[in-house]
């Protein structure tokens, strides 16, 4: 069965890299460009995993993560932070909101695939 992956990032470049990275796998990638749109997309699409940026307009990634954790239908979704900020304070804030992983930008597609496979399992398209 196709895995559903949601990328939430204000950069089109990052959303495109996530889409390309998972193209060889049995996945459906959807995208949102800020935290608020991201929470809506999560409620609508019920993704198996979310890649979340921190610095975004309208609603930051940490605010969106808090909202997801408070929303029963999506509260248990694994969320991986994909962000240029890797200081102890941000890591701690994300940890407190039960992140499933943390990938620092700059990043390579392989890192996303490895972590996704570990968390939810991935299969290659035939």
């Amino acid at each position: 069965m196709d895995r559903k992956i949601l990328t939430i990032d204000d950069s089109k470049m990052v959303r495109m890299i996530v889409e390309k990275t998972f193209a060889p796998y049995n996945c459906i990638v959807t995208a949102a460009s800020d935290g608020s749109e991201g929470v809506e997309a999560a409620l609508r699409d019920k993704p198996d995993i979310i890649f979340m940026d921190i610095t975004m307009p309208v609603m930051t990634g940490l605010e969106a993560l808090a909202k997801i954790r408070q929303t029963p239908e999506i509260a248990a979704t694994p969320v991986v932070m994909l962000t240029a900020e890797s200081d102890a304070q941000r890591l701690g804030a994300a940890d407190a909101l039960k992140v499933a992983g943390y990938i620092s930008k700059p990043f390579q597609g392989d890192q996303l695939v490895l972590l996704t496979h570990k968390l939810i399992g991935l299969t290659r398209k035939k």
Binding site: D10, S11, K12, M13, V14, M16, I17, K20, I54, T55, M56, P57, T83, A84, E85, S86, D87, A88, Q89, R90, K105, P106, F107, Q108
Partner: protein, 161 residues
């Protein structure tokens, strides 16, 4: 209590190492740092990115790259022919490049116990690069060369708001 920001020299060391890391990881390009005074960006359309962080330390970073070089970077990272890239997409790539470069500097500053928040990159296309290339207590300009292009990065340490 007012916090003491790291000196401009330390900020610029973090910035240089971050530039090398971002170009290497995202674009598979090695970068060479050159004295900014000796580096002249080619005349013509230039992408200008402004990005930074605010809080107990306030930093603005301005990145200037010729549009041609920016298009080449976008083409590498998005695996798309340059001819298929529109201006907003190229601008987005340069804005996110700035976010990654400055994010590492911000993380180092935060790890000193100084609370700051990243700003959203603002990107514009200007007819040419006009930035004064001086180094002072509060600002410095760095030049970088990579395969097929050059960029200038100005780091400005601003007084606390």
């Amino acid at each position: 209590m007012s916090a003491t920001p790291p000196p401009i020299h330390q900020l610029s060391l973090w910035l240089v190492s971050s530039v090398h890391n971002v170009f290497d990881t995202m674009f598979q390009l090695s970068t060479e740092q050159l004295p900014a005074e000796e580096m002249h960006l080619p005349a013509g359309e230039t992408v200008a990115v402004s990005i930074g962080f605010v809080g107990q330390v306030n930093v603005e970073v301005l990145i200037y790259a010729p549009s041609q070089a920016a298009m080449q970077l976008a083409s590498i990272v998005l695996e798309m022919p340059a001819a298929e890239l529109d201006q907003p997409t190229v601008g987005d790539v340069m804005g996110e490049l700035g976010n990654m470069v400055v994010g590492a500097v911000k993380s180092n500053v935060s790890d000193l116990g100084l609370d700051c928040t990243m700003t959203i990159p603002s990107v514009s296309f200007v007819s040419e690069c006009r930035t004064p290339l001086h180094t002072a207590d509060s600002s410095t300009t760095l030049g970088f060369e990579f395969h097929g292009g050059k960029c200038l990065i100005k780091l400005v340490l601003k007084p606390a708001a």
